[in-house]
Assembly symmetry: C2
Homo-oligomer: 578 residues x 2
């Protein structure tokens, strides 16, 4: 074992300080750890791009183990997009490698004295060091990966920002390489890339050479629980069938069927072009072009939601665009051209931006008559404006709310400054409750209510019970997924099957020699949410901010012609009872 | 007397409804009345550009009388810039004329069904009517005034928005014509022009023909008090000498001397080019070009702060730029060319935008390296981008905070989303307290602490007593100035001289047959502020928002090298004790 498991990186004096996780942080990983550090160490009113913000990277509690799909990495800071606390997590190799190096967290602090300087952080078994990296200025994530691979090989994980992060755009993501060293996995939400850019940190290279297996207190117990968990995932209709087959795009038809597919800036819940961008259609395209139909983004993935999307010449273009990308840049812009969306996806990955925030910004701009809905060529031109960081591009890169300001549009689908994802809250009201209640702004991943909203007991068109449902899911998500590093796709099994939940608890216990019960994990989830909410309160947020924009309350959504009518009292009650 | 004194204008069905001021609104005028209507009738969480916001115009309680300088008009709504309640007031003729027509308030409600339609509201003794005005689309305020003058003559007052308001830019102002029918007086702050634009209201023509003198219960008593008040104004060194001679630009040298002149985006408190843009220099320029040295913007003005600024050919260019314009577009951009600033002032008036918000936005963009500090030509080019409503122009028109986002700048001098005025809060800390505490965002006019900060007892560099000082001035300002319609320049006399205060109270009593004491007006001021603060609370604001951006707390300002260190507890205490 190394004698440190946290490394502080001070960008002001360019020093690195390995230390042991302090008591307050022990027993936490992933979001639990990033939120604990931000909550304790970052002044809630500080400027997110200033010296007092901190950027924290943390693998999950089960990171580096053979627990299936447990390699996610959390990125946390105060968000320049929402001004709230923020955690955004990603797949790719970084989480596994950091965990195998025994590192629980990297904490990036301060600002470089030379405002324009860029650095690369190199992390290995010896610790970490900062290396000047001005030559990477302006590099897209793909070129950065190429440069890094030439210098360091590809038996490493790369964490990087693109030009959007360098320019501190609030939609900027942090990119993570997958197993083929492609920067296609992103901590997309909340502008974590802008915080990394403000700190002059262009890239992190994580070299796991020489690292040993992650120590397990009870290796046999762990293996038993992991095997059980793997079986449950493989046997579940979503993680065992729909996702491996179609990836997240399986949702296009599902959500369209539910009348909740955001279409033309949340004006309709059905998109006439849904079939053309559906998971089924994409599968045919990938097959015809000899792409890869099932691909895991990280070691230990048994779901393999990803796929490789080729262009019409059969050359690699990008990973298969995710559901949210197909929705926010597709149906919500009235666009039904999967190739155009795939090219945009590639461009977003390269520039280093959230496809949800930028797609939503483009739809808002369409509503402001910048270009017509459905204009795929126009959307690609706007993507190009973003790549070139023109003034127009900068408006869009500043997100949906900023675009609403610039184009005088009042229908902006955002909560706490962050654009909603691909579920209209008037037809899937559990998502509406999550958008409203999440400590992170309109973040669907904070509490996915898909199964109960589609199949009961709390159907999506009902208003009753949604807030409570959302909060229950949020508690489980915070502890059992975001803190363990287990991929969000396990949310169905974990929420529906007590055995899946028990298996996760068993793995934590077997790994760390603990005696947690499911109730303890429930308590941990509540504690994480409370900590985050307390930060937000100190940053000036009140229950008044736990609301959707008022057009969702007044403008009925076709085809169901419902509005979001979960009562404010329900929304407030679930926090009060925490 | 007419049988109405409030007119509601419903833009959704294009009807007007005259009515009597309801009991809740009686005895109020100006800001007191606009804030009462917004507070009672506008849902605090509504979209400022949506159907549920209301735009209220109200002359002051003493409007239309011979009380000197009492013709200001208040414009109120929920602000799209700050999301708070907002009142912004202006000189010009509209306040006097509305008051003479017996109209206490115009309340503009709803949104037109045809999103793009434009209307002109015509108000006279008969009431009001809406007239389609699509032909005015895209007109600057000067061309609108020309068009209106040709159609309606110039014995009227015009209220209008320029293209910025039509496009709902959050820096858009509402323009008011002066006595020469020039649209040079503006309710500049908080985007009231955007609200007017969202309602499709391009212009209001107020025709006072046939109106009688405003009725006074005790005409002799009124005259006595008015004469006394006029004498006090004429005898005060600021209102009787400095302002009539140099206008507000007299402050350039004063504030520079105090080390508080915002320079290069609030990096310094002294500007090496101050002399070139000082009131003294401007006076010489105006003299040499045969401009007008002292000019009143409204009937009944005895201070005559205004002047007419000619171009180098001796032709009318604009009114003399105000101090805030010379500072925000001048020293704070490092610009010392008064002609460039005057051309920008003209362009801002024509486009219909706040010179503070746009000037601050340009300085933020300069900090983001868009153009260098001191580049006057570049600043004029940026002004041109705004006039042409290009994407770059739209960023700047969205204000300082939006520009900070677009250019990745963290040093944004704004509170509650609104840019600060021309007083650095680190050297004149009373202004800092006002910026922090005002219900309107960083609005210097809410509580001007100049005299006590310069001459004691609460000197500008001290931290103690500033919050209390600011709040006392804010209370007086809300009732005795903003609600009566008396020009802000009376703030010195009213704050320093109990006789001035008594004269104002006497005028109110003599006019309305009341028996108010100064204490009653103090209570009224507190009531107005509480009402506004309550609206903001319901809109989601807490004491956490009553703070300055953190760089003012950490970055010392040359030459005094002080930071803003008024304790949070002081800031919170003054509200608690209300």
């Amino acid at each position: 074992m190394m004698n440190f498991n946290m490394i502080r990186i001070n960008m002001a004096d360019l020093t690195v300080s390995p230390e042991l996780l302090s008591e307050a942080y022990q027993g936490l990983g992933g979001r639990g750890l990033t939120s604990a550090v931000v909550s304790r160490e970052v002044p809630p009113r500080c400027s997110p791009l200033g010296a007092r913000n901190k950027l924290v990277f943390a693998p999950g509690l089960l990171g580096g183990t053979r627990c299936p799909n447990s390699g996610r990495i959390s990125v946390g800071a105060k968000s320049p997009l929402t001004q709230t606390i923020k955690e955004s997590n990603s797949g790719g190799q970084a989480g596994q490698y950091l965990a195998r190096l025994g590192i629980g967290a990297l904490v990036v602090e301060g600002l470089p004295e030379d405002d324009g300087a860029l650095y690369l952080l190199h992390v290995d078994l010896e610790g970490a060091r900062l290396i000047p990296a001005d030559e990477l200025r302006g590099y897209g994530n793909y070129d950065t990966a190429k440069w890094v691979r030439e210098k360091y090989g590809d038996k490493i994980a790369l964490v990087s920002i693109g030009p959007a992060g360098e320019h501190k755009m609030t939609s900027a993501s942090v990119a993570f390489t997958d197993r083929e060293f492609r920067p296609t996995r992103h901590a997309g939400r909340g502008g974590m890339g802008a915080v990394m850019g403000s700190k002059g940190l262009k890239a992190i290279v994580i070299d796991p050479s020489g690292s040993k297996k992650v120590p397990l207190v009870d290796a046999d117990g762990f293996k038993r629980a992991a095997t059980k968990f793997a079986k449950i995932l493989a046997g579940h209709p979503v993680t065992g069938d729909a996702i491996p087959k179609y990836g997240t795009p399986y949702l296009i038809n599902v959500i369209n069927e539910a009348g909740a597919l955001p279409t033309r800036n949340y004006r309709e819940g059905n998109f006439e072009g849904a079939e053309k961008i559906s998971g089924e259609t994409l599968r045919e395209i990938i097959k015809a072009r000899k792409g890869i139909l099932a691909h895991g983004c990280m070691t230990g993935c048994i779901i393999r939601c990803s796929a490789i999307y080729m262009d019409s010449e059969g050359a690699y273009l990008t990973k298969r665009p995710e559901y949210e990308t197909l929705c926010l840049w597709g149906s919500n812009c009235g666009i039904d051209d999967p190739d155009a969306i795939a090219r945009i996806d590639r461009a977003c990955d390269d520039l280093g931006v959230d496809t949800i925030e930028t797609g939503s910004a483009v739809a808002v701009a369409m509503e402001g008559n910048l270009i017509p809905f459905g204009d795929a060529d126009g959307a690609e031109r706007l993507m190009d404006e973003m790549r070139r960081l023109t003034p127009l591009g900068r408006i869009l890169l500043s997100g949906a709310e900023a675009s609403g300001k610039a184009f005088g549009v009042r229908r902006v689908p955002a909560v706490k400054g962050q654009a909603m994802a691909g579920y209209d809250p008037r037809a899937l009201k559990g998502y509406g409750a999550t958008y409203a209640l999440s400590t992170m702004g309109a973040d669907h991943t904070a509490g996915i209510t898909l199964a109960p909203n589609l199949m009961g007991p709390v159907f999506g068109l009902e208003s009753k019970g949604q807030a409570e449902l959302s909060m229950n899911v949020q508690i489980k998500t915070a502890a059992l997924l975001d803190t363990t590093g287990i991929c969000l796709f396990a949310n169905g099994p974990i929420n529906q099957n007590p055995e899946a939940l028990a298996a996760v608890v068993d793995m934590i216990n077997a790994m760390h020699g603990l005696n947690y019960t499911p109730e303890d994990l429930d308590k941990m989830g509540r504690r994480i949410l409370s900590m985050e909410r307390d930060f937000n309160k100190r940053a000036g947020f009140t229950s008044v901010h736990d609301r959707l924009p008022d057009f969702f309350l007044h403008e009925p959504l076709p085809p169901h012609n419902t509005v979001f009518d979960v009562p404010d009292t329900d929304l407030d009650e679930v926090w009060k009872s925490q």
